[in-house]
């Protein structure tokens, strides 16, 4: 896990520029750590109580296109292709779910969540590539501020640096940075979207985080001790990349092995095709709890 102690104070401060968002918030904002604990307690209780289904929840979505080169100013058509992918993936209407090894078909879930595009903002910037310091999320740093984060998903599209495809913010973080960021070559399924990240699955993965999903391998490196707090995903060593072939075994999870077809692994867009029922329940708990503003907004719209 991340470590920032036992160094000269100056060294720690100096390193904050490269600190990850989640870790930076945990280290610098005691309220965030407390909020995350409360959200996990709520989610655990919600899973145990098995509350009645929420029914279809539609999330109003705002896409912020932030560009310095013309090709980064992705078209409305490309934005629409991304919204369509999100809707297919979160409703299990994606045709490529057919590639699932049969053993996992019974746990593949319709999360009963849809996304309605309500606005596209376009901002020209002097920033050649954004880092994970949330610069794209503020007009002061060359990006654009989010809108109504308690009732909307904010999705920024820009050039990310370091070869990064995207990053998210869990529920419980600061409103002023709430949302997900996706690099413009992994956004949607047309235009600038480039293989093997050209099917819009980066956004599916990041919105999964935004609705409180963890990586399927449990974020413990390649170890077998981490958990994604979901019961119907197999224990898995580290992330999978590319397009693995079934079965790919780790952590004594034979015969079926890693669920590398899950949106919360690190496989190519063409290889990830499902959320599980447990993941859908965890997202529903996020909607009942820390993201209940979305439910309230849906009820009044």
């Amino acid at each position: 896990m991340a470590f920032t102690g036992r160094l000269a104070p100056g060294a720690v401060r100096e390193w904050c520029g490269t600190m990850p968002v989640h870790r930076r918030l945990l280290d610098t904002d005691p309220g965030y750590a407390r909020a995350r604990e409360e959200i996990e307690t709520f989610t655990f209780d919600a899973a145990r109580e098995e509350p009645p289904p929420l029914g279809l929840v539609t999330i109003p979505t705002i896409v912020h296109v932030v560009w310095s080169r013309p090709e980064q100013n992705v078209t409305d058509e490309q934005v629409a292709s991304q919204i369509e992918t999100l809707n297919r993936d979160f409703r299990k209407t994606n045709e490529d779910v057919a590639i699932l090894p049969p053993v996992w078909a019974p746990v593949a879930a319709d999360a009963d969540i849809e996304f309605a595009l309500v606005d596209v903002t376009r901002t020209r910037t002097e920033v050649a590539a954004f880092d994970t310091d949330d610069g794209v999320k503020s007009a002061r740093t060359g990006g654009v501020d989010p809108v109504s984060t308690d009732t909307h998903l904010n999705l920024w599209v820009c050039q990310l640096g370091g070869g990064l495809l995207g990053y998210a913010q869990f529920p419980g973080g600061p409103a002023e940075t709430d949302g997900v960021v996706v690099t413009y070559t992994a956004f949607g399924s047309t235009g600038t979207a480039a293989a093997p990240f050209d099917l819009g699955r980066t956004s599916t993965h990041e919105v999964g985080h935004w609705l409180n999903l963890r990586h399927i391998w449990g974020d413990d490196g390649d170890g077998c001790g981490g958990s994604d707090f979901v019961d119907d995903t197999p224990n898995q060593g580290g992330p999978n990349y590319g397009r693995p072939t079934y079965p790919k075994v780790s952590c004594n999870n034979a015969p079926h092995g890693d669920m590398f077809v899950n949106y919360m692994d690190y496989t190519d867009d063409a290889a990830m095709v499902m959320f599980t029922r447990g993941q859908a329940a965890r997202m529903a708990a996020a909607l009942r709890g820390p993201r209940s503003g979305l439910l309230a907004a849906a009820a009044t719209s």
């Binding site: 991340a2 990850p20 370091g162 990053y167 990349y241 690190y266």
Partner: protein
């Protein structure tokens, strides 16, 4: 102790698709890089501090900060804080190649 070349002191991103024969290939983080789901990286700083960067729980890189030393020419030894080293993180490298655009390291 020998001082490593100054070119080492920057942030490097692991371009794992270029790895070959047990040697890891790194490129400067501030240059255009092919996107990938989950790249790890290294950042070396003068004064003996390094960071091992790996994708965190929301995909932004997480830094584990430790100390480097150079026990021999073309060797880097890495010391992690207690309990901070991921199981697969190397504790030392042989510098196979170092240019302003490329760093090739063999875990030792």
């Amino acid at each position: 102790m020998t001082a490593p070349p100054a070119a080492l002191f920057r942030r490097w991103v692991h371009v794992r698709e270029e790895d070959a024969a047990g040697v890891r290939v790194f490129r400067p983080a501030d240059r255009p890089l092919p996107p990938a789901r989950g790249r790890d990286g290294l950042e070396f700083r003068a004064g003996g501090i390094f960071a091992y960067l790996r994708p965190g729980p929301t995909d932004a890189p997480v830094a584990v900060v430790g100390r480097w030393s150079t026990p021999a020419r073309d060797r880097i030894a890495l010391t992690y804080p207690p309990d901070a080293r991921a199981g697969d993180a190397p504790t030392g490298y042989e510098i196979v190649e170092l240019t302003p655009d490329l760093l090739r390291l063999r875990p030792v």
